[in-house]
């Protein structure tokens, strides 16, 4: 069935509309659907993420353990792997622990690594000052350097004052 908007491409989404009491079903291609703001999930399939998501549960028959795994919810937010497969988005930070194995595998495929080597989050100010042996002076000096690099002179002045207090 051809797309009823452009009449050129093959329709991939069927849309049921009620117009003045009449029920009409139209078929739309991915492009026209996207233009109308209807999410198809098509196009995702072209990406490594999409491929992985499509493969998640491809072989799922209702009795297979995989199907059960797809329905198990994250204890924190209730999102399931099935939700993830549909949206490509995880539900909360806890999901990364709840679905450790499949997400780890996905991260490895997407990034070629699962190990973050960049900046480590220092926690909020209270946590950082308590844990830093020099009262956070080193971190402050580093921030000051970056503030100057970024020509953020107002911030630099504030950081310099805080550093003086600490030293």
């Amino acid at each position: 069935m051809k797309c009823s908007a452009c009449g050129e491409r093959e329709g991939v989404v069927s849309l049921t509309q009620i117009v003045e009491g009449d029920v009409r079903t139209v078929s739309l291609c991915a492009k026209c659907a996207a233009e109308k703001g209807i999410e198809t999930g098509i196009g995702l399939a072209d990406t490594p993420l999409g491929g992985f998501l499509a493969a998640l549960g491809e072989s799922a028959d209702p009795d297979a353990p995989l199907a059960a795994a797809l329905e198990a919810g994250c204890p924190s937010c209730g999102a399931t792997l099935r939700d993830f497969r549909e949206t490509g988005r995880v539900g909360c930070a806890e999901c990364y622990r709840a679905f450790d194995a499949p997400l780890r595998e996905l991260l490895r495929r997407l990034h070629g690594s699962t190990h973050h080597t960049g900046t480590r989050y220092q926690g909020t100010e209270m946590a950082a000052v308590v844990s830093a042996p020099d009262g956070g002076a080193r971190e402050l000096r580093e921030q000051l350097r970056r503030a100057i690099d970024a020509e953020q002179f107002e911030l630099a002045a504030e950081l310099r004052d805080r550093l003086r207090e600490r030293e």
């Binding site: 233009e35 109308k36 924190s76 988005r89 930070a93 990034h111 909020t124 504030e158």
Partner: protein, 370 residues
């Protein structure tokens, strides 16, 4: 309509063509994706939770130097044309602005802008911090956004995993949450048909390319946004250095392609850039795509010194101000579809006329003549 004059420089300092390599690079952007530890991610939040996320972010931002004086927008409460305006200025993403007619905005979505940095709230992630600068300026742009990240991180508990790093709504951004992109103008490589080979090469070494408006946007006017593909397993420094090295290489290739064109096809090249100038100077209707392509021709001519004294800044401004919401804002009303190309052409003529007037008649003849 919203008053963007509230923003210092209208949030468009990135157009000023003052940065390094401005003849080839329009702008540099670095963004960081961050989420709050104690809140569900965006697909699982209801409007109430998003309100509380927005309030927390605004509260924390108010106490920082980097965002303490920020102009705030409730994106979800703006009219369509205002959301389009912010999107055309690269201040909000397509996801947040929903710039299509009938597009749905997400309740609780917000934007904070100060200097050359901004934070989108309740986009795909709770926070999207970005800094945007003129020219090829990865260092300064990164320093700016990283400072904001530190300042906000001291006041907001971010979701961070000991092994995976910063956690994001989509696993493609996990780790550093960093996407750095450089908007580069590559007409030489397009004309010499080298571009596909180069883009293909870039994707093999971990870079990706997009159009003027980032993810999902098409390449127009020979403007390519080059950015890192992966975000995990490398430090921020490594990601930036890798991108920087490759962008410099692409810039060299582009320079070389331009010199070859200038040497082997002088007349064709001169004709092309002056035709583009002539059309922009006198056309009575212009589509957006045509405008972008003609601006690319003129930009090439200016970069090669063939068209004297048309400023890069003027060309950069035209990239933004010829878009539909900006044309509407200039008229102070919503424009009918058929009116847009006419208004666009009139605006371009007016800007170029003023430019030529300012710079004198020599601006309209090549330096080799006369």
């Amino acid at each position: 309509m919203i008053d963007l004059s509230l923003l210092p420089d209208g949030g468009m300092a990135w157009l000023e063509a003052s940065g390094p390599g401005s003849h080839l690079v329009v702008s540099t952007r670095v963004r960081l994706a961050r989420n709050l530890d104690r809140h569900r991610f965006i697909t699982r939040t209801d409007p109430k939770e998003r309100e509380s996320i927005l309030a927390e972010v605004e509260g924390a931002a108010a106490a920082t130097a980097g965002l303490g004086r920020a102009v705030k927008f409730r994106v979800d409460r703006l009219d369509l044309v205002d959301r389009q305006l912010l999107h055309e200025r690269h201040l909000v993403s397509r996801e947040l602005a929903a710039p299509e007619t009938g597009g749905r905005v997400r309740p609780g979505s917000g934007l904070l802008v100060q200097d050359r940095a901004s934070v989108m709230v309740n986009e795909e992630d709770h926070l999207r911090l970005q800094a945007l600068r003129s020219g090829f300026a990865l260092e300064a742009t990164w320093a700016h956004v990283s400072t904001l990240d530190t300042e906000l991180g001291q006041r907001l508990a971010f979701a961070f995993h000991p092994e995976f790093g910063y956690l994001t709504s989509c696993p493609t951004n996990v780790g550093t949450g960093l996407r750095a992109s450089v908007l580069v103008h590559l007409p030489g490589l397009v004309l010499t048909k080298e571009i596909n080979k180069i883009l293909q090469g870039l994707t093999q070494v971990g870079l990706t390319f997009r159009g003027l408006y980032g993810e999902g946007s098409e390449v127009v006017g020979n403007l390519f946004q080059l950015s890192n593909q992966t975000t995990l397993g490398k430090t921020e420094r490594e990601l930036l250095d890798h991108l920087g090295k490759l962008v410099r290489q692409v810039m060299e290739y582009e320079e070389r392609a331009r010199q070859i064109l200038l040497r082997d096809a002088t007349a064709i090249l001169e004709d092309k850039v002056w035709r583009a100038f002539g059309l922009l100077r006198y056309a009575r209707t212009l589509s957006f795509e045509e405008t972008m392509n003609l601006l690319s021709g003129v930009r090439l001519g200016v970069g090669l010194g063939l068209i004297p004294s048309v400023g890069m800044y003027t060309l950069n401004k035209l990239l933004v101000f010829t878009q539909p919401a900006h044309l509407a804002a200039a008229q102070g009303r919503v424009l009918a579809d058929e009116e847009v190309p006419v208004r666009r052409a009139a605006y371009v003529r007016q800007v170029l006329e003023a430019e030529v007037g300012r710079r004198g008649p020599s601006a309209e003849s090549p330096p080799t003549q006369g």
